[in-house]
């Protein structure tokens, strides 16, 4: 099923049979899409936890 890697050289790999711009744009977009939708919820979680911790400290100070 997997005969072999389809390219003889790296420049041939980048060229993608003359459709390099289209193929690599799609994979680039896909990489951005996946990374953005994983990193952004992780960053948001950090912000939320930081914010909730700050609130907890404020609440404790007020009750003392």
């Amino acid at each position: 099923m997997i005969e072999a890697i389809q390219f003889a050289s790296f420049s041939e790999f980048l060229d993608m049979g003359g459709y390099g711009f289209n193929v690599w744009s799609v994979y680039g977009l896909f990489a951005v899409f996946v990374a953005a939708n994983l990193i952004s919820p992780v960053m948001k979680r950090k912000r939320i936890v930081r914010d909730l911790k700050r609130r907890a400290v404020v609440n404790e100070q007020q009750s003392n």
Binding site: I2, E3, A4, M16, Y19, V23, L38, V42, I48, R55
Partner: protein, 248 residues
């Protein structure tokens, strides 16, 4: 029948704890499937006699497009649960699904255009029902996000978005069958048909299946992460959240 599981499902705390156990496995599987799918597609798919190496675009396009059709049914089910049982968790999932679905629809359109520009000789075709109905799905999802932010009251926003999500399912049916109902430029589903005229060999459909699984796993991971954030925010006054925050 025992319905406790159903009521437990509605509990944000239960969902949070369950997904804490699931996430490492889901993320691990996602990374493996994404890596195998991308490497296989980029290095091993042989050039098509007509399409050359552009079939490698279709592996991504098919996986993302297929998954994008899951958003409205998911939001409609969650919306129905919100309308009937007022389950908080269902609305949290629906709320975070909408922007992610807009992303999926946009990437479907962009990757399709990048393939069409060289294989059809055009980036866009207004007379093609498949293309236009997918563009409509993108606008509908942006519309759901806008509707949510326009309505200040949480319950009103949840109910309005639930209704729009249920109606939006009609468009999913149109997208799905557009290539059969109308004579359009967009070809009918072929990457996965294993018999008939448009059959593809395993060297193409196996990496496509790997990529579909990878994209579904990514969809699940991203939506779960976003929903957990929503839970932390909405349940911030709950004792279990405060305890959890103090431990981190």
């Amino acid at each position: 029948m025992n319905w406790t599981w159903f009521h437990k499902l509605g509990s944000p705390k239960w969902f949070y704890e369950l997904t804490s156990k699931w996430l490492p496995w889901l993320i691990g599987a996602m990374v493996i499937f994404l890596a195998v799918g991308v490497v296989w597609a980029l290095l091993y798919i042989p050039p098509d006699y007509q399409q050359s190496y552009t079939t490698r675009i279709l592996v991504i396009h098919v996986a993302v497009a297929g998954t994008s059709l899951a958003f409205f049914p998911l939001m409609a089910v969650a919306g129905t649960i919100t309308l009937v049982w007022r389950m908080k968790l269902a609305d949290m999932v629906a709320k975070n699904a909408a922007p992610l679905g807009a992303w999926f629809s946009f990437i479907t359109l962009a990757t399709g255009s990048l393939w069409g520009s060289v294989m059809w000789g055009t980036w866009w075709e207004w007379s093609d029902a498949r293309l236009v109905s997918m563009l409509f799905q993108f606008f509908l999802l942006v519309g759901v996000v806008a509707l949510r932010s326009a309505l200040e009251d949480n319950d009103t926003a949840a109910r309005a978005c639930a209704l729009l999500s249920i109606v939006g399912c009609i468009n999913v049916v149109i997208i799905k069958y557009s290539v059969e109902w109308w004579n359009v430029l967009h070809q009918p589903s072929s990457p996965l048909s294993m018999s008939g005229e448009s059959a593809n060999g395993p060297e193409f459909w196996v990496p496509t299946v790997v990529m579909i699984v990878a994209v579904y796993l990514f969809f699940a991971v991203s939506l779960i992460l976003a929903t957990r954030n929503e839970i932390l925010q909405r349940e911030r006054k709950a004792a279990w959240v405060q305890e959890l925050v103090s431990k981190t």
